[in-house]
C-alpha cells in the first residue's frame, strides 16, 4: 500500500510543479500577500494631517504645537486663519484633525484656571478618529504635567502605569503578518487539491487510475501530498521573511508551529477535497474555493476581533479551522506560548480536521464508485 501511494504521490508532485503558471502562482502569491500586509494593510495611526489654528500666539501655545508635531502622530499641514477656514479644510478632507488653541490659553495656565483647547476630529474614519483623539489627550496630558504647578494645590491624582505585553510597540504589522501564514496556506491548498482532482476528472485520466490496483483512499492520500508540501514550504517562507525582513518577533518554538501547521493542513485539505466532489470543472472549483475563502477569512478573527461580531456570527466562527489556527500562530509568534496554553485550539483543529477529512474522503469514494 505504501509503495503505491509513494509512486502516485511522485506522479502528483511532477504534475503539480510541471505547469509553469502554477509554479509562479505558488511562489508569488505568498510574497504578494506578505508585501501587502507588511506595507499596505496597516491600521497604525501616524502622521495624521492636522490643521492648527493658534489664536493665542504665546510661548505656551507654540510649545504645545511643537509637542504635537514632534510626537510623530500628527503632521501639521495647514495653518488656517479662521475657524471657518478650519471647517472647510475638514469638509474637503484635507485634514483629519483640527486643533484650535483659544485666546487666553497661556494666561489661563498661569492663573490656574482651566485653559481651553478645541479639537475637531473628522469621524468619517471612526477608527483613526478614535485613536487620534487618544493621542491628543495623551500629548496634552504630558504637556500640562510638565508645566509648573499653580500655587495652593495639594491633592494628588491617581494615575495608571500601563504596560503593553506581547506587542509593546503596538504595530499592526506584528498582528497581521503571522495571520498571513494561515491565509496563504488555506488559499493555495484549497485551489491545488480541488483543481488537481477535478482536472483528472475533466481530462478523463481518473478512469485510467481506477483500472489500476490503486484504492480510492490511497488515491486521496497521494493527492494530498503536493498541497501539503506547498503548505509547509509557504509556512517556512512566510515565517522566514516575516522575521528577517519585517522584523516580526517570533517568541515561541518553530517545531511547535510546524506541528500545528500539519494539524491545520488536515482541515484545509479536507475542505479542498470536499470542493472537488461538488465541482465538475476547474472553473467551478476555482469559484467554489473563492466563495468559501471570502467569508472564512472575514469570520475568522483575521482582521477584526471575533468578540465584537454579532452573536450569530460568533457561533459560525467555531466551525472555521482558521479561527483556531490564527490563535495558534499569534500565540507562537507574539506570546511565545506552546502546547501548555494552546492545547484547546490544537485539539479543536484535530477534531475538526479529522471530521472534515473523513467526511470528504467518504464522499469522494462514493462519487468515484
Amino acid at each position: 500500500m505504501m509503495e503505491r501511494i509513494k509512486y502516485l504521490a511522485i506522479k502528483e508532485l511532477i504534475q503539480t510543479f510541471r505547469d509553469r503558471r502554477r509554479r509562479i502562482l505558488i511562489t508569488i502569491s505568498p510574497l504578494i500577500q506578505l508585501f501587502l500586509f507588511g506595507y499596505v494593510a496597516i491600521l497604525d495611526v501616524n502622521n495624521v494631517s492636522t490643521a492648527l489654528l493658534d489664536l493665542d500666539k504665546s510661548q505656551e501655545s507654540r510649545e504645545l504645537a511643537r509637542r504635537f508635531e514632534g510626537s510623530g502622530y500628527f503632521t501639521i499641514t495647514a495653518l488656517p486663519g479662521s475657524p471657518e477656514e478650519m471647517g472647510h479644510l475638514l469638509d474637503r478632507g484635507a485634514v483629519l484633525v483640527a486643533i484650535q488653541i483659544n485666546r487666553g490659553f497661556s494666561r489661563d495656565i498661569k492663573k490656574g484656571v482651566p485653559a481651553g483647547l478645541q479639537v475637531l476630529v473628522d469621524g468619517t474614519d471612526s477608527n483613526t478618529a478614535l485613536i487620534a483623539m487618544g493621542y491628543v489627550s495623551t500629548i496634552v496630558g504630558i504637556f500640562s504635567r510638565d508645566l509648573p504647578a499653580p500655587a495652593g494645590v495639594t491633592a494628588e491624582k491617581a494615575y495608571f502605569r500601563t504596560r503593553v505585553w506581547y506587542n509593546p510597540d503596538l504595530k499592526s504589522r506584528n498582528f497581521f503578518l503571522p495571520g498571513v501564514i494561515a491565509l496563504i496556506i488555506m488559499l493555495t491548498c484549497l485551489m491545488v487539491t480541488s483543481m488537481a482532482i477535478v482536472r483528472e476528472r475533466e481530462v478523463g485520466t481518473i478512469e485510467q487510475l481506477m483500472v489500476t490496483p490503486i484504492r480510492p483512499l490511497e488515491l486521496v492520500l497521494a493527492k494530498m501530498v503536493p498541497a501539503s508540501v506547498i503548505g509547509i514550504a509557504q509556512m517556512v517562507l512566510v515565517t522566514a521573511l516575516g522575521v528577517l525582513w519585517f522584523h516580526v518577533p517570533i517568541k515561541g518554538t518553530f517545531p511547535f508551529l510546524f506541528l500545528c501547521t500539519g494539524v491545520y493542513l488536515l482541515s484545509v485539505l479536507g475542505i479542498g477535497l470536499f470542493i472537488s466532489t461538488i465541482s465538475k470543472t476547474q472553473q467551478q472549483a476555482l469559484m467554489a474555493s473563492f466563495l468559501f475563502f471570502q467569508p472564512a477569512v472575514l469570520l475568522s478573527g483575521f482582521a477584526t476581533p471575533i468578540e465584537n461580531m454579532p452573536q450569530v456570527f460568533q457561533y459560525i466562527t467555531y466551525a472555521s479551522p482558521l479561527r483556531y489556527f490564527l490563535v495558534i500562530v499569534r500565540g507562537v509568534f507574539l506570546k511565545g506560548v506552546g502546547m501548555e496554553v494552546l492545547w484547546p485550539q490544537v485539539l479543536a483543529l484535530l477534531v475538526l480536521g479529522t471530521a472534515i477529512f473523513l467526511l470528504s474522503a467518504m464522499r469522494f469514494k462514493k462519487r468515484l464508485a
Binding site: 501587502l36 506595507y39 499596505v40 494593510a41 496597516i42 491600521l43 497604525d44 495611526v45 501616524n46 502622521n47 494631517s49 469638509d91 474637503r92 478632507g93 485653559a115 481651553g116 483647547l117 479639537v119 475637531l120 476630529v121 469621524g123 468619517t124 474614519d125 471612526s126 477608527n127 478618529a129 483623539m133 491628543v136 489627550s137 496634552v140 500640562s144 504635567r145 508645566l147 504647578a149 495639594t154 491633592a155 494628588e156 491617581a158 494615575y159 495608571f160 502605569r161 500601563t162 504596560r163 505585553w165 506581547y166 506587542n167 509593546p168 503596538l170 504595530k171 506584528n174 498582528f175 469570520l299 477584526t304 468578540e307 465584537n308 461580531m309 456570527f313 506560548v337 496554553v341 484547546p344
Partner: protein, 369 residues
C-alpha cells in the same frame, strides 16, 4: 451613430441576460450578500474587553476603581485573581485582554493625599484593539479622579473634543459607504467582463461583424442593459445601507446617484475592455475579479489609510478610480457635502470613465484576426 442600431443591440443583449437566470440572480444577490456580511463582520468598535483584576489592596478606593471599569460599557470583568502568575495564564490563553493590578497601599495613599498609581497590563497582540482599550483606560482614570474629587498638581487644560460627521464614531458608518464603492467596482467589471468574450467563444462575433453596427454602437448597446442592472444594484445597496443598517445619508441623493452613474460607466467599460482584449470568458472573469477587487479593497482608502503606505504606493493609489469614488461616497453619506468640495474627484472620475470607454470602443474592432 444610429439610435436604432443601438436600441437593437441593447435589446439583443437584454434578451441574452434574461435567459441566463442564474447570472441575473447572482447580479442582485451578490451585492446584498457582500454588503451584509462585510457590514456585520468588519467592525472596529471595541466594546467587549475582557478584563481581570488583581486587587492587593481590597480597600474602599480599590473597589471603587474596579467598579469604575465595570460601570463603563467597554469592560467585562471575567475574574478576580490573587497572583501575577494567574494574570500570565489569563492573558496567555486569550481569556482576558486587560489586567488591572491595584497595589497594597492604594486606598491609604489616596486618603493621605500622596501620589499613587495602579498598574494596567494590556494584551497588545491586536494593536488596534489595544490602542483603543488604552484610551478607554485613560478616560476611566480621569473619571475616577473626578469622582473622588482628586485634583491634579498641574494646570488643567480642558480638551473639548468635537467629532464631526460620525459623532458616535460607529465603525459601520465608516465601513459602509466605502463598501458600496467596493461592491460596485466588483459588480461592474464582473457584469461586463464576459459579454464580448462570450460572443467570441460562441462564434457569434462573426455574425455581429457582418452586420452594419459600428463599434461605438456595439459598445453603447452592450453597456445599456448592464448599466441598468448596475444602477439597480446601487439603489439596492443605498436602500439597505440607509434603512436596514441605518447609515446616515446627509448629502443629496441626486448627486449620489449621478456620481455613481459616472463611476458605473467607467467600471462597466473596463470590464468590456478586458473582455475584448482577452477574448476568453474564463480569463476575462478572473482578471475582472482580481483587477477590480484588490485595488478597490487595498488602495482606495476604504479601510486602510493611504497616508500610511510607502510613497510609491501612495502615488499608485491616484490611478485607482475607486479611490475617488470612496471619498465622494463618504463625503455625501457622512459629511453631506456638495459638488463644491468634490469637484476634482468627480472630474477625475468622469475623465477615467471617458478614457476607458473610448479605449473599449477602439479595441473592439470588427475584424476577424
Amino acid at each position: 451613430m444610429g439610435l436604432l442600431r443601438i436600441k437593437a443591440m441593447a435589446q439583443k443583449e437584454w434578451i441574452q441576460i434574461r435567459r441566463d437566470r442564474l447570472s441575473l440572480a447572482m447580479a442582485f444577490l451578490l451585492p446584498v450578500m457582500l454588503l451584509l456580511i462585510y457590514a456585520y463582520a468588519i467592525t472596529f468598535d471595541v466594546n467587549e474587553i475582557l478584563m481581570v483584576v488583581y486587587d492587593q489592596d481590597k480597600g474602599s478606593m480599590s473597589r471603587e476603581l474596579s467598579a469604575e471599569f465595570t460601570r463603563s460599557d467597554y469592560f467585562t470583568l471575567v475574574a478576580s485573581l490573587d497572583s501575577y502568575e494567574q494574570i500570565d495564564r489569563y492573558l496567555d490563553s486569550d481569556r482576558a485582554r486587560v489586567a488591572l493590578v491595584i497595589p497594597v497601599d492604594f486606598s491609604k495613599r489616596i486618603r493621605t493625599a500622596k501620589p499613587t498609581s495602579a498598574e494596567v497590563i494590556v494584551d497588545g497582540s491586536n494593536s488596534n484593539t489595544a490602542t483603543i482599550a488604552l484610551q478607554y483606560i485613560a478616560a476611566i482614570g480621569e473619571q475616577f479622579n473626578r469622582r473622588q474629587g482628586l485634583s491634579p498638581a498641574s494646570p488643567t487644560i480642558e480638551v473639548k473634543n468635537r467629532v464631526w460627521y460620525n459623532p458616535e464614531l460607529k465603525s459601520r458608518n465608516f465601513v459602509i459607504p466605502g463598501l458600496i464603492a467596493l461592491i460596485m467596482s466588483v459588480i461592474a467589471s464582473v457584469l461586463t467582463s464576459l459579454t464580448v468574450a462570450r460572443e467570441w467563444d460562441r462564434g457569434t462575433m462573426e455574425q455581429l461583424i457582418s452586420t452594419p453596427v459600428k463599434p461605438v454602437e456595439l459598445v453603447i448597446g452592450k453597456l445599456i442593459p448592464y448599466f441598468l442592472i448596475g444602477f439597480a444594484d446601487t439603489v439596492l445597496c443605498v436602500l439597505i445601507s440607509t434603512f436596514l443598517l441605518k447609515v446616515p445619508l446627509r448629502g443629496s441623493v441626486g448627486l449620489l446617484f449621478a456620481v455613481s452613474a459616472i463611476f458605473l460607466v467607467g467600471g462597466l467599460s473596463f470590464g468590456l475592455l478586458l473582455s475584448t482584449v482577452t477574448k476568453n470568458q474564463v480569463l476575462a472573469s478572473q482578471l475582472g475579479m482580481l483587477t477590480s477587487f484588490l485595488p478597490s479593497f487595498l488602495f482606495s482608502g476604504f479601510i486602510f489609510n493611504i497616508s500610511n503606505m510607502p510613497v510609491p504606493l501612495q502615488a499608485f493609489t491616484y490611478t485607482v478610480s475607486a479611490r475617488y469614488f470612496v471619498s465622494v461616497l463618504k463625503g455625501i453619506f457622512l459629511k453631506g457635502i456638495g459638488m463644491r468640495f468634490m469637484a476634482l474627484e468627480v472630474a477625475l472620475l468622469s475623465l477615467y470613465g471617458a478614457v476607458v470607454f473610448l479605449l473599449a470602443c477602439r479595441k473592439l474592432r470588427k475584424r476577424i484576426d
